[in-house]
Every structure is written in structure tokens, then in C-alpha cells.
């Protein structure tokens, strides 16, 4: 094995280096001299993100445990962009209190290692790497969710996350073990060449599906989502809701199209019904939320319900639509969470009522929020429209008209609650609106990136073309 071969793992290696540098800075910098940490993290991660985009060979490593393809690289790059935004947005929160600031090194380290886990998970060629990547992506984040020690909610979020995750990974493992029993191999390639169709394998599929669906928070495996998002620090919620969810979708796609490709009729049916209830339940809950984080949590559940529309047809176009959707979703969701985080850091206010009259005092924040919400709702000309439209197209072309119908009806319901927020910001009047918030440059930059992304991605047909051409790996 040569160095060149090793460089196929560029994403992971870069991240690893980044993590190590962060650790070194953390250890070398004095206790009172950590101001370097945030700019360093931002710069390093920007580099990592940038390098990720350089052209690279694809191939297999470690006897097939690790493999890359154009699509996988694309997925990783999408994640990187999202993580970069999260990192930039975290600055405000880290500076917010000394305690957080003190933890910034650990915070960045954990975020980055979690991304390493996701990257390995996506690149995994066998179930072992998949499993370890998954755990690496989850367990440290649970610690971060509980990081705000002064807040009871934070700890509650942490314990809910880690225990639910433990249960779900137990279920997942049980499924993997059954697969192993029926086939004898843990490699995706070997499993996919085998014709899985016995009941036991279906059983195994459902175990595995449950484990992954838990991460995507598909109904009925979604219940942890709202509580965790509400309790955890905003940036962790945004990380979980966008990056973590996106990575789980990516691996779900990979699993469905490699390992379980012979069970296509089963997983089509399962996805069909989960999609329907996920959208519906997510929407129904989102309607009556007051807390913005909780609101966004349910909204993200509802959004997750749209994803199966692209997968269900099993076409290359569908897959690219899903990736495209997720890319847009990352930007939109991070935009919304970014605003919530900026406001929460400055004032501690997280309720929708507090947003009344926001536009008069903070027009830019309101605009970014509106853009993000419209994008989530799928309103043109912002990108969300294109993402949703292509998902619907993918399903419709395969003849799932009823599913598309249910989905668009749900999209309308979701518009209702997104508009409630818009209403609060733009229409409602408040006696004591949130004062003008003078955001630091990190927050501004983070929101700006989101806003630009939300506007550009939809219009630039080339981005979709690129995704389409890259997602031939399956």
C-alpha cells in the first residue's frame, strides 16, 4: 500500500490532521489564551473543505473496507460545507459564555471527529466500518449535547440522545448479525451480489433500517429528535438536524442500493409508508410548536419525510435529487438555525412570540430567516423549491402519484407553520421586540453563506448537473 493509495482517504486524513491541530492548539495554548482557537478552527476547516473539492482518484482500500466514488466524494464535500457553516456559526455560541469558550477546543475536536465518523461511514465497504463510523458520528455528539452543564435541558437532551442511540445501534447490530448469519460476509459488495430474499433477511433489513431511520428521524423512530434539539445547544441541534441527518440519508441510500438491492420491493413499500407518516406527523407536531428549536426539529422531521420520494423510484435521477435536496436542506436549515442561534445567544429568547416585530429591529436576520423558511417550504425562487420539485418529479416519473400528492399536500401544511414564523417577524407587532443585535463577524459570515447558498443553488442548473453526473456510482 502506497502513500498515493492512502491519499484516496484524503477527506478523512485532512479531517484527522485538522483534529490533531486543534488538539495541539488546545493543549499548547494557555488557559486564558484561547482566543486563537476559533479563527484557527475556521481557517483549518475552510482549508479542509477547499481541499476536499480538488479532483481526486476514486478506488478501494483496505481490501474493500473503504471505498470512494464520485458520489461519495460529493456527499463528503456536501457534509464538509455544512460543517464549515456550523463551525462558523458556533463562534457566537462559544464566545457567549466563558465556560463554552473554555471548551472550544474539545468542541471543535468532537465535531471534527464526528465528521470523520460520518466520512468513514459513507465510505464504508463493510458493516464493521459502517458501524464504527456510525458510532463515532453519534456518541461524541451526545456528549456535546449535554455540554451546557448549567442547563438541565441540555443534560436531558444528552441522555435521551445517547440512550436512544444505544438502543437503535443495538437494533442495528442485531440486524447486521442476522445478515452475517445468512451470508457470511460483512462486505457490501458480497452482500449485494447475493440474492437476499428470505424472510430472515427481510427481518435483518428491517433491523438495519430501524437503526438508520433513527438517525434520519423517520417516524416512528423520530421521537428523540424534538427533545434533543430543544435541549441541546443550538449549534449542536443544527449539526444533528442537518449534517448528521444528511450523512444518515447518504448511507441509507448506499445500503439500499448495494446491500438490499434485491429487496427493492420490500424497501419501496416500507419507505412509502414511512414517508407518508413522517411528513404528516412531523407537520402535525410542528404546527403547534412555540419553541423555535423544537419547531425546527419537527420541521426537520417533516423534511425527512420527503427524502424517500427520491429514493423510492430507485433511479439515478432520484438519487441525485435526494443529494441535491439535502445540500439545499443543509443550507436552509443551517440558515434558520443560525438565526435562532444568533438571537438565542444575544437574548436567550427562543420562542416564536419573542420574534414578534423582529423585522423592524433586525431586518437582516429576519430576511435570512425568511429565505431559509421559504426554502424549507419549497417556495420559489429560493433553492428549496428546486429541491422539492425534483424529488417530486423523481417520484412522479416512477408513477407514485398518490405519494406525490400526499407530499405536496404536506408541503402546503408545512408552509402554514413556516408562514407563522414569517408572520411573527414581519406582521405581528410587539411592545418589546428583540433589540437590535450586533452580531459578530462569524455569525454574519455564516448567515451570509447560507443566504447565498439558498439563492444560488436553485438557479444554478450547473450544480444539479454536477450532482447528476457524479451520482453514477451506484
Amino acid at each position: 500500500m502506497t502513500i498515493e493509495q492512502l491519499l484516496l482517504m484524503r477527506h478523512e486524513i485532512m479531517l484527522l490532521i485538522a483534529a490533531v491541530i486543534i488538539l495541539i492548539i488546545e493543549l499548547s495554548a494557555g488557559k486564558d489564551n484561547k482566543s486563537l482557537m476559533i479563527p484557527a478552527a475556521v481557517i483549518i476547516f475552510s482549508l479542509v473543505t477547499f481541499i476536499g473539492f480538488l479532483p481526486i482518484e476514486t478506488g478501494k482500500l483496505f481490501g474493500g473496507s473503504y471505498n470512494t466514488s464520485d458520489m461519495i466524494i460529493l456527499m463528503k464535500n456536501s457534509l464538509n460545507i455544512g460543517v464549515l457553516i456550523v463551525i462558523i456559526q458556533s463562534a457566537g455560541w462559544l464566545k457567549h459564555s466563558f465556560e463554552n469558550f473554555d471548551n472550544s477546543g474539545g468542541y471543535f475536536f468532537i465535531i471534527i471527529s464526528s465528521v470523520i465518523g460520518m466520512d468513514f461511514m459513507i465510505s464504508a465497504g463493510d458493516f464493521l466500518m459502517f458501524y464504527i463510523g456510525l458510532e463515532l458520528a453519534t456518541i461524541p455528539i451526545a456528549a456535546l449535547a449535554a455540554v451546557e452543564k448549567m442547563k438541565r435541558r441540555s443534560s436531558e437532551a444528552g441522555i435521551k440522545l445517547i440512550l436512544s442511540a444505544a438502543l437503535s445501534s443495538g437494533i442495528l447490530l442485531f440486524g447486521i448479525s442476522i445478515l452475517y448469519a445468512t451470508n457470511g460476509s460483512l462486505f457490501f459488495s458480497s452482500l449485494s451480489s447475493d440474492n437476499l430474499n428470505s424472510s430472515l433477511q427481510i427481518l435483518a433489513f428491517i433491523f438495519v433500517f430501524t437503526g438508520v431511520a433513527f438517525k434520519i428521524s423517520l417516524v416512528p423512530f423520530h421521537l428523540w429528535t424534538a427533545d434533543v434539539y430543544e435541549g441541546a445547544p443550538v449549534n449542536i441541534s443544527s449539526f444533528l438536524s442537518s449534517i448528521s441527518k444528511a450523512s444518515a440519508v447518504f448511507i441509507l441510500i448506499i445500503l439500499l442500493f448495494t446491500v438490499f438491492n434485491s429487496l427493492v420491493s420490500v424497501w419501496n413499500t416500507v419507505l412509502y409508508y414511512t414517508a407518508v407518516i413522517t411528513m404528516t406527523i412531523g407537520n402535525l407536531f410542528a404546527i403547534r410548536q412555540q419553541n423555535m428549536k423544537r419547531f425546527l426539529a419537527f420541521s426537520s422531521i417533516a423534511q425527512a419525510g420527503f427524502i424517500p420520494l427520491g429514493i423510492i423510484g430507485g433511479t439515478q435521477f432520484g438519487i441525485s435529487a435526494v443529494i441535491y435536496f439535502l445540500l439545499i436542506y443543509i443550507f436552509s436549515n443551517l440558515g434558520a438555525f443560525g438565526v435562532v442561534s444568533a438571537i438565542s445567544n444575544a437574548t436567550g429568547k427562543e420562542n416564536m412570540d419573542d420574534y414578534n416585530g423582529l423585522y423592524r429591529t433586525n431586518p437582516k436576520l429576519s430576511l435570512v430567516m425568511m429565505l431559509s423558511l421559504f426554502s424549507l417550504a419549497g417556495i420559489p425562487p429560493v433553492a428549496g423549491f428546486f429541491g422539492k420539485f425534483f424529488l417530486f418529479t423523481a417520484a412522479a416519473v416512477q408513477g407514485y402519484y398518490i405519494l406525490v400528492f400526499i407530499a405536496v399536500v404536506n408541503a402546503t401544511i408545512s408552509l402554514y407553520y413556516y408562514l407563522l414564523v414569517v408572520k411573527a417577524m414581519f406582521i405581528n407587532k410587539s411592545d418589546s421586540p428583540i433589540e437590535f443585535i450586533n452580531n459578530d463577524n462569524y455569525t454574519k459570515a455564516g448567515l451570509l453563506i447560507c443566504a447565498i447558498g439558498i439563492i444560488i443553488i436553485g438557479f444554478a442548473g450547473i450544480i444539479f448537473e454536477f450532482i447528476e453526473s457524479a451520482s453514477t456510482g451506484i
Partner: protein, 499 residues
């Protein structure tokens, strides 16, 4: 002419508006932008007529294709025929007058004009699109600023109305979307070519009739809700009554026309078999719309509600006409769209102007305002006459074309509903004259604020432009009607082949 200009000008206006500092600047920029747009639209009509005059018989003129999403075969393809040209002109007129009518918006003026122009961009884009995708995109783009416009600058129970309007229209667009995607997925039944959203290409394809039966109602209802199809019209009275003046103008004047246009261009044109088969269902619904809206208008006491119900009735006539499936009546449908667009814009403009003076829209609280503001009252009367179909004004041309055309259908069903629809002109007269008698005529009321002044310059410009347009269409309709008629050929041919 490059049609993309029609999108570009509003976008540039938007950009300029962002930089505007003062109210005077903002409104000047908006007026200038929409003014340029109006000039462009007039120019478009002229070059269109010249092009046709020089013997160009292409279905669509000035077509352009910009590739957008290559994989899905999505192009930003534009092109116009007589129908869209006339509706573009209508839009430009109404937008321009709408901007002038909101000259005195004080609260968040910049945002107001931005939303207004976003809305108009959507409408222009919708009318020049030849691609279902962009059409749908612009459709939604036009609907969503409505929410803010009504919610922020509206009056009365604006939040409820804004939400209701937005949700019903977006719900409709949801149904529509399924229909459009259905059309898309059947746009290449043999699989020989790639699936396409292009209207002209789809028109050359025979979509299986079983599929049409599913998608026709979806598309028709989807667009029909915007055209106030019974029983999905209830957003209209509330929405109109809560909206600020310019928004009511644009909405009733232009946005509702998108419904009719969509039904004609997509539902009827692309799904002809189902259109022929299922028209009767919707004819019944639209007949109800027509009569029901008119009767509903009789008892209302709020000026805007009256006009909103009247719009239900008149727009019902548009859809009704589209469903009667022949050249004459479809021509009438388009004429009615334009006519209704102009006169309802005039109505709402006037109602806004009157409201800003009397601070009430309740007809029971106003009498004899003819004495107080003769100019506005006379204009209101003219609008009323146009609405009840006075010859020499636009309403007559449109309605008569519709009735004559509808009567060309020989069976008893079509004829009886035509008679039913025609009876609405009497009811229209009843509610129009009721309002005129109640508020304009009679002794001057003493419960109105003192010191009421008549129209100021911008208001005069608004009303005069609209009245000139209404009268112009009413007096010399032939060029317009011919322009539309010549473009209806492909649609009616396709429908007639099936018949």
C-alpha cells in the same frame, strides 16, 4: 423582441429598489421600472402585430430557449402568442397603475414595492413561459408575496385572510403540481424522446386518455382555484377585502388571470380528450360560480366584498368560457380576462381611494359622495358600467363573445347553462346599481369626515389610464380579438380533433 427583457426589467427594478433610501426614491424607482415595463409591453404588442402582419404563422413568436436543468430537459423557454401578449399588456398596465395607486404607502414602503414587483415578475414570467416547470415556478413566485403584502399592509382581519389566501392557493398549486408532473411523466409515451416540460412539444404527443382523466381535474382545479372556481373561491372575498389597494388590483386584475390562462394553456391544450370528456363537471361548477358570485354580491355591505364576489362571478365566466370549447368562446374567455382585469383593477383602485378619504368601506355609511368627490364617483360609475357590460366598454365585448360562442354548442345542456350564465348580467346590474345608488347618489352624507378632497394627480393618472384602456378595448376590440383568435387555432384544433 427579447422576451427575457420582461423578466430583466423587474429584476433590475428590484435591485434598484434595494438601494433606495427615501420613500420618494422608492416610489419613483418602482414607477419608473413598471413604466418601462409598460412601454416594453406596448412595444411587444406592436412588434407582435407587425410580425404577424408580415406573415409569420409560427404558433409562438420570439421564442428563446435557455438550457437550465439539462438532465430533466428543463429549459427556460419563452415565447408568446396573441393570448399571452394581450395578458402581458394587461399585467403591465395593472402593475403600473398599481404602483401609482400605492403612492402614499408609508409603512415599510421599500419592502412594499419590492414585494409588489416580485409579484409582477412572477406574473410576467408565467405568461412568457413555454415550459411547465418555469410556469409553475413563476406561478408560486407570484402567489407568495401576496402573503406579506396582505399581512403587513392589509386591513381588517388581514392575518387570517392572508393565511387563508396563501394556503388555499398553495394548496391548489400542490394539486396542480401533481397534475403537471403527471403530464411530464407521460410526455414521452413511446420513450423515443426524453421527457419534457415544454408545452409545445407535449402538445404534439398523445397522452393516454386514462392518464388524462386523472390529471385533467388536477390541473384544472389547480389553476381553477386561482380563478375562483366554486367551491374553492372563499379565499377571494377575504383576501381582497383585507389587501391593500394595489394588491387587490394586481390580484384580482392579474393574478386571477393566471388561473384562466393556465386552464386554457395547460389543462385544455395538453389534455384535450379528458377536457372534452370532463368539461361538463366543471361547466356546472363554473355556472354555479357565475350565478352564485353574483347573488353573493347583492347582499354584501363592504365595497371590497361586493367586488370580490363580482370577481368570482366574472372569473367564473372565464373558466366557463374556456370549457365551452370553441374558438369564439375561448376568444371570449381571454377577452374577459383582460376586460375583467382592467375593470376590477379600476374598481379596487377607486375603492382604495374612496376608503382613504371616508375611512369606511361600508356602503351603509356612505351616501352622496358624488357631491364630495365627483371625479372618483364618475370613474366608479364608469367602472360599474363596464362591469355590467355596457357597450363601448370592455365588459360588453368580452361577455358577448362568450355568450355568442357558448351558444354555438348545439346541445341543450350547453345552451341552458349559457342562458343561466347570461342571466348573471342582470344580477350584475342589480348589485352594481345598488352600490351606485347607495353610495354615489342621494343626498350627501353628513357622517363622513369633513374636508374630503377629490382625486389628486396620481389617482387621476391611475383611473384615466385604466378607463382609457377599458374604453379603448370596448370601442375598438377588433385588433385585440383578432390577435387572440389567431392564436387560438392550435388549441381549438387539438380539442376539435378529439371531438
Amino acid at each position: 423582441m427579447d422576451l427575457i427583457l420582461l423578466i430583466l426589467v423587474p429584476v433590475l427594478t428590484l435591485a434598484a429598489l434595494m438601494t433606495a433610501g427615501t420613500k420618494a426614491q422608492a416610489r419613483m424607482i418602482a414607477a419608473a421600472g413598471t413604466g418601462v415595463q409598460l412601454v416594453l409591453s406596448v412595444y411587444l404588442v406592436i412588434v407582435y402585430l407587425m410580425e404577424r402582419g408580415s406573415g409569420n404563422i409560427e404558433q409562438m413568436l420570439f421564442t428563446e430557449k435557455y438550457v437550465w436543468f439539462n438532465t430533466l430537459n428543463i429549459y427556460f423557454s419563452t415565447g408568446v402568442d396573441g393570448i399571452s401578449v394581450s395578458l402581458i399588456l394587461l399585467t403591465a398596465i395593472v402593475t403600473f397603475t398599481g404602483v401609482l395607486a400605492s403612492w402614499d404607502v408609508d409603512y415599510l414602503y421599500k419592502e412594499f414595492f419590492i414585494s409588489l414587483i416580485v409579484l409582477s415578475t412572477g406574473v410576467f414570467g408565467f405568461f412568457i413561459s413555454l415550459d411547465l416547470f418555469t410556469m409553475f415556478l413563476f406561478y408560486e413566485l407570484a402567489v407568495i408575496p401576496m402573503y406579506l403584502l396582505i399581512g403587513i399592509w392589509g386591513s381588517g382581519k388581514k392575518e387570517y385572510s392572508a393565511m387563508k389566501l396563501t394556503l388555499m392557493l398553495m394548496g391548489a398549486s400542490a394539486v396542480l403540481l401533481v397534475g403537471l408532473l403527471g403530464i411530464y411523466s407521460y410526455s414521452s409515451p413511446t420513450g423515443a424522446t426524453a421527457l419534457t416540460f415544454n408545452i409545445i412539444e407535449i402538445a404534439n404527443v398523445d397522452i393516454p386518455v386514462e392518464a388524462q382523466r386523472y390529471f385533467f381535474p388536477m390541473v384544472f382545479i389547480g389553476f381553477g382555484v386561482l380563478g375562483a372556481l366554486f367551491p374553492f373561491h372563499t379565499w377571494s372575498p377575504d383576501g381582497h377585502s383585507s389587501a391593500p389597494t394595489a394588491v387587490s388590483m394586481l390580484h384580482a386584475g392579474v393574478l386571477m388571470k393566471m388561473g384562466g390562462y393556465g386552464c386554457l394553456r395547460v389543462a385544455m391544450y395538453l389534455l384535450p380528450e379528458a377536457a372534452n370528456e370532463m368539461a361538463w363537471i366543471f361547466i356546472i361548477l363554473t355556472s354555479i360560480s357565475i350565478v352564485y358570485g353574483a347573488f353573493g354580491a347583492i347582499v354584501q355591505t363592504d365595497l371590497k366584498y361586493i367586488n370580490a364576489y363580482s370577481s368570482v362571478s366574472h372569473c367564473g365566466l372565464v373558466l366557463f368560457a374556456i370549457l365551452m370549447i370553441n374558438e369564439i368562446v375561448m376568444n371570449g374567455a381571454v377577452l374577459q380576462m383582460i376586460s375583467h382585469g382592467l375593470m376590477t383593477a379600476l374598481f379596487f383602485a377607486l375603492i382604495g381611494m374612496i376608503y382613504s378619504r371616508t375611512h369606511t368601506r361600508d356602503i351603509r355609511e356612505m351616501t352622496g359622495i358624488m357631491k364630495l368627490m365627483p371625479f372618483l364617483s364618475v370613474c366608479y360609475m364608469i367602472a360599474g358600467f363596464a362591469s355590467l357590460g355596457l357597450p363601448g366598454l370592455s365588459g360588453f365585448v368580452a361577455e358577448m363573445t362568450i355568450f355568442v360562442g357558448a351558444f354555438q354548442n348545439t346541445d341543450i345542456f350547453h345552451r341552458s347553462v349559457t342562458i343561466l350564465a347570461a342571466s348573471s348580467i342582470v344580477i350584475t346590474a342589480v348589485y352594481i346599481l345598488r352600490v351606485v345608488a347607495k353610495i354615489l347618489l342621494g343626498p350627501a352624507g353628513d357622517n363622513l369626515p369633513s374636508g374630503i378632497k377629490d382625486a389628486v394627480w396620481n389617482e387621476k393618472v391611475v383611473t384615466i389610464i385604466l378607463i382609457v384602456a377599458i374604453a379603448g378595448m370596448g370601442l375598438v376590440p377588433l385588433w385585440l380579438s383578432d390577435m387572440i383568435l389567431n392564436s387560438l387555432g392550435p388549441i381549438t384544433e387539438k380539442l376539435a380533433l378529439i371531438k
